[in-house]
Point group: C2
Chain length 250, copies 2
């Protein structure tokens, strides 16, 4: 099995080492990852600047690794071009240093890596450590162990061409695994104004995720209940029910 691995936390992130060590047990691995942290870069693509690629030494002799001055989307496309020109069987993205639940999926560079693999026609999986409090210390071994145990299910699940899997693993031994939908993770106080030493305003964007009110059968709910959450994410974002209604009334 030919495997391409990327992430959005950068080539030196511990989650990348974890995912690569598990993948190397099951196939031939090439890592192509950003040269630095690129969190919340979503499905952005570098089009206006040339991309540079450097081979780097990595933990395992059997794993080839490259850093790119770009984003996860860039890494997948460059990785397929230089690493797997004859094709690749699996794109893995992660393990992200935090959850990608609900609307996080729309901002996430980790998820975007899997999205780009899918657009390239390759089975793709994004994996994130679902800490629910940013002060928690992440134990990536839990994500690695979960991935190893569920490898067969993930790589054999019957998926249509435009669907990939988004996985959130709890930061404690999971009670089990639940297949669930994307929840609605709402942030409050999205923008905070401050003043610089010269009295001029500047703004921080971020906000606190409000996880409450998570409906059952969602990723947020599953993780709150202590389960790993696996969500099949589609690249057809059409709301077909609304479309039918609009076509009728047009």
């Amino acid at each position: 099995m030919r495997i391409l691995i990327t992430n959005d936390d950068g080539i030196h992130a511990p989650g990348l080492k974890s995912i690569a060590s598990v993948a190397a047990e099951f196939g031939e691995v090439i890592i192509v990852a950003p040269d630095r942290e690129r969190s919340a870069c979503a499905h952005a693509m570098t089009m206006r600047e040339p991309l540079r690629v450097n081979e780097v030494k990595y933990l395992a002799a059997r794993v080839k690794a490259f850093e790119v001055n770009g984003l996860p989307v860039d890494c997948v496309n460059v990785g397929l071009t230089i690493g797997w020109p004859d094709g690749c069987d699996l794109v893995l993205s992660g393990i992200n240093n935090g959850p990608n639940l609900g609307f996080d999926v729309t901002y996430s560079g980790t998820v975007a890596g899997a999205m780009e693999g899918t657009i390239n026609g390759i089975r793709s999986i994004a994996i994130s450590m679902a800490i629910l409090n940013s002060s928690e210390t992440i134990n990536y071994d839990l994500g690695a162990d979960w991935l190893r145990e569920n490898w067969d299910d993930l790589t054999h699940a019957e998926l249509p061409p435009l669907v990939f899997l988004n996985v959130n693993v709890p930061n404690h031994p999971a009670k089990g695994t639940r297949y669930v939908g994307m929840g609605q993770r709402v942030y409050k106080d999205r923008v905070e104004m401050r003043e610089d030493p010269w009295g001029r305003p500047y703004y921080w964007q971020g906000g606190v995720a409000v996880l409450d009110g998570a409906a059952p059968e969602t990723d947020i709910h599953a993780v709150k209940e202590g389960y790993a959450a696996v969500t099949p994410v589609s690249l057809d974002w059409t709301d077909h029910a609304v479309l039918k209604r609009l076509q009728k009334t047009a």
Copy 2:
């Protein structure tokens, strides 16, 4: 009607002036746009750097305009904070200087502006000029005219909370308007290798969009046939059919 306008082509883009001049006929407009072009930035969010906001003079005395050193998502959130702290009725994003058809939707900063408006609970619309050849000169008046004529339909269409409208207007008088789904716009030759004057490789990402094989009832098909395409895009990306199957077999 309180209207927030953003784009990904930057505060000086002609498409922004077009959309703002139409919107100002229907309501009170505040523009908050990136200080420079940020194409293909997707739903990325600036989290690691502070955002600065400058008020700028704009074409119409009645329109307030601000530039932000950030991305469309940043502009929407900062814009709602400083421009419409008591709420806003409509977020418009565009008019983009090129199509956002099929998978373009996943890379587009224009679409991301509408996505962020939707996450904030506001009716949102992204509009793009669907030239099918990058050498065409864009006539933004066509987009402005189309928007004016269809304003009532767009702002009154019955949409559930997580759905926004993605509009592609042809670069010639449209034969009409079709409500359609997201097509599959495939690119070929995604990554091109070149050598710098010192013989070191670098890579350009881009590729040529292959529009052929567009299924009927898709945005790509509608635009190729000469129609404006309106697509209801959902922020629930769960593939519910696949989810049900996975839950049964798990």
